[in-house]
Symmetry: C2
Subunit: 493 residues, 2 copies
């Protein structure tokens, strides 16, 4: 017993020593790990680093009001409001900064006027009654304004403005009770806020701007792309897998295309906030002021609808019941066609959105082909009879076929919606350029999908893609085929 | 020509007159419409009205610092920071208010200390160098802190704190360059912010509190409920519809249960922000501090997964291809069973979450029954052969059956996850009470679903539910059966 205990004590002692000894190593590990996370965050989207520097720049600019004598003599201690405004107004995207800046400026102006009015009103009462009148006014106005923040339309665009309104009104009417030179204070507050807001907007727009509109545009295009990748991969892989069961293991390794669409399921709130910011933005790049941002939300909803169906489809990859080979032969060709043509249609739509080119024929052609495949499937099913198989063995494949039919519908709707967008936003028309591009794309797809089909060797899709990229010297519009695109829009808001 | 023109002028004049004449009426209409919207907003969630009054109350309380002489003598003009703090910190939910308040308080303390340190550092330099050193420090700190806001974990919980940190540091180090009594200013700012924050937290917690945790809890329970309603309605309606086609029209009128689940698809962001707020909240009601809020997010994800499958299922309600009656007979019973038992399992889970009662047997029983139905379906499918029907006519029904099988899996996962929650959060155990309640529920379900099945008369489910409610004198846990429950959690954040 004695020995046991001393043994335990020794071990404990060594344990503590060990821990102390390994402490610097662990701390170093943690620092290295943290450093890597920081590096990744910056590399994933270098605009983040630039944004941080921009905030520093804007703050340094407005602090000149304090440091530079002539300016300080003009604004005095109120200059601090400019610093304050920069910190609270400067956001990652131009639209968000503009929205907050305008909200803050207008709300301050309005609330300032009302606050001064309230003070004059309270002056009509005696000394005892003054604070009571002011308190009642503040209470009423704050309660009413707070309630308006629950209106969805106000919440979406003017929430910050209403807050600043309550803030300024309370500040002026409360402090006006003691402070003498009220008008001067109101005037200084307004002008410094305007200076701060203007600095933010200036830096935000003219130093490496991050446009919410551009981000929304890219997000929608990349979401369509993700679905396209899934559908292009699905058809060939699923129908191959079912033919010779032992291929499942090999293809499990290459699930990248199967996961991409998952993020599409939850982008609704990101899309909505981007659209709200985009509405504040002036024309930029290829987007005019009053670009039909709302239509992007419509497309986004249809894309999400399609993603829900893909989610249902995806659960049939890992089905453990053996599928009837007889039934597979009936549906295989048309289903693979539906899947790949829908994928190509989406790919073409994504390309046309990204390049802002009005190219209805290319997507339409694929949609038509996928619809023909649906008809083929129906004809084949009507004619076929099961001889050697029971019903259980066809259930999973029948479900896949049904869901693919739904997806063809969804893709047609997305196509129509993108077509509407291209008319609303007056996309450039493409006539002659279309055919070689489509050809290139089709060649490319065949190249990128085939190796997965080939079960005997480990699939190595990236490699094949890169080879073909070099061969064809591809243009920007095909950029999206890279499996990891670091320029894809991030979702910070 | 002359006559025509004068005619046009006359018409235009009358047009203008007409417009002016109808102006008051239109304005009145608009006011009435607006009034109704306000009323609806308040009635939908009366807590909104109470929140607005609470903000007014908190503001009036802190403005006492200004109005009441002894307090004003203590704090002076800095008292305005208390007003400011109340306006920016007071949020709808306790957790959000607490999170913002604590963030603001701690960030002010930390940044204040650092700011004073920066000033001492700048004092080591000559007069010319001072502002340069300060500007560099502000730039570095603002840029670094802004970059940390991109870390997802910091963004979720400390975003506001980092902003206040930049704000306070810039304010102190910039204005410290000119203002003499800096330490006094820092001290006053800190103490008034603490007063403002404390007032917010006090009013938020002790006057009709709105707990984010409670809202998250209710949201999850009501989401499970929505899926349950769908599944309970689906089985009987779908299989009835397919038997005699003319019933589709009648049942189209009663789509309420078909739409409820749609909102579940997009609650991810709401759930996440509620969980973030809930983590700030102290124990309240039936929730202890450190209640396993994260588990709610896990359940939420599984519920959403199930909702995706339901979305796929839902697209088969309006299928225009005639379904083979022969095949229907094979799958009908087991599918109806799967659907209704899954629904009942979910209903029982929702009840047990809502009442925080650990009642695994009730849900388990239904899950087992639904799994038995899956086995029955498989057996039936294995044994059956198609004689009079082609494959096309079975596709839609086969898909429905497959998706239902997936849903049974999902429901089992949800059940396990709720079971984990009940153990983590130590739900009360229910042994003897369970059986009569379950009985009541089952009776009720039969009552509420039957009338929809009956195609000859217009369905009037609400009426039937109310009758049964009266009959059984139901307890709270069954409250969720009401089709429109005005107390359901709203999603404002």
């Amino acid at each position: 017993m004695e020995i046991d205990r001393s043994d335990a004590v020794t071990r404990e002692k060594f344990g503590v020593f060990d821990r102390v000894r390994t402490l610097p190593g662990k701390a170093k590990d943690k620092v290295v790990k943290f450093g890597k996370r920081v590096e990744k965050l910056g590399k994933d989207d270098p605009r983040r680093v630039i944004h941080s520097l921009k905030v520093g720049l804007a703050l340094s600019l407005v602090s000149l009001i304090y440091y530079w004598r002539p300016l300080y003599d003009g604004f005095g201690i109120s200059g601090i409001w400019a610093v304050l405004t920069v910190v609270v107004v400067f956001e990652f995207r131009v639209g968000a900064t503009l929205g907050k800046g305008l909200n803050r400026g207008l709300a301050t102006l309005l609330a300032g006027a009302l606050g001064v009015g309230a003070l004059h009103l309270s002056n009509l009462f005696e000394n005892e009654g003054k604070p009571i009148v002011l308190a009642i006014l503040v209470f009423l106005l704050a309660a009413t304004a707070t309630f308006t923040r629950f209106f969805p339309t106000i919440k979406a665009r003017y929430d910050y403005g209403v807050m600043v309104f309550i803030l300024t009104f309370s500040m002026i009417s409360v402090s006006g009770y003691r402070v003498e030179k009220l008008l001067e204070m109101a005037h200084q507050r307004l002008s410094t806020i305007l200076i701060g807001g203007a600095t933010c907007i200036f830096v935000s727009i003219f130093v490496c701007p991050v446009w919410a509109g551009q981000d929304l545009h890219n997000l929608i295009a990349s979401n369509i792309d993700k679905l396209a990748n899934y559908l292009e991969g699905f058809g060939s892989e699923y129908f191959q897998v079912s033919k010779d069961g032992d291929c499942i293991e090999a293809s499990e390794n290459d699930k990248s295309f199967r996961k991409g669409y998952k993020t599409v399921l939850n982008t609704k709130s990101t899309e909505e906030s981007l659209a709200n910011f985009a509405k504040w933005e002036p024309g930029h790049g290829r987007f005019l002021f009053r670009h039909p941002w709302k239509q992007y939300l419509n497309i986004g909803a249809l894309v999400r609808q399609c993603a829900y169906h893909i989610e249902a489809l995806n659960s049939h990859f890992t089905n453990d019941i053996e599928t009837s080979a007889e039934f597979m032969r009936v549906i295989q060709e048309s289903c693979a066609q539906m899947s790949s043509e829908s994928g190509k249609a989406l790919k073409s739509l994504a390309t046309s959105v990204r390049a802002m080119k009005h190219d209805p024929e290319s997507a339409k052609e694929h949609v038509e082909k996928s619809k023909t495949a649906v008809k083929d499937l129906k004809t084949a099913l009507k004619a076929a009879a099961l001889e050697d198989s029971d019903l259980l063995s066809i259930m999973s494949a029948a479900t896949v076929a049904s869901i693919l039919v739904e997806i063809v519908d969804c893709v047609e709707n997305i196509s129509k919606s993108v077509h509407e967008l291209s008319q609303m936003a007056r996309f450039k028309k493409v006539e002659d350029i279309a055919s070689p591009e489509t050809k290139q794309q089709m060649l490319l797809h065949r190249g990128s999908v085939k190796p997965v089909l080939d079960c005997d060797q480990t699939p190595d899709r990236d490699h094949v893609i890169i080879t073909i990229r070099d061969m064809f010297n591809m243009d920007d519009s095909l950029e999206n085929l890279r499996p990891q695109d670091s320029k894809k829009p991030r979702e910070e808001e």
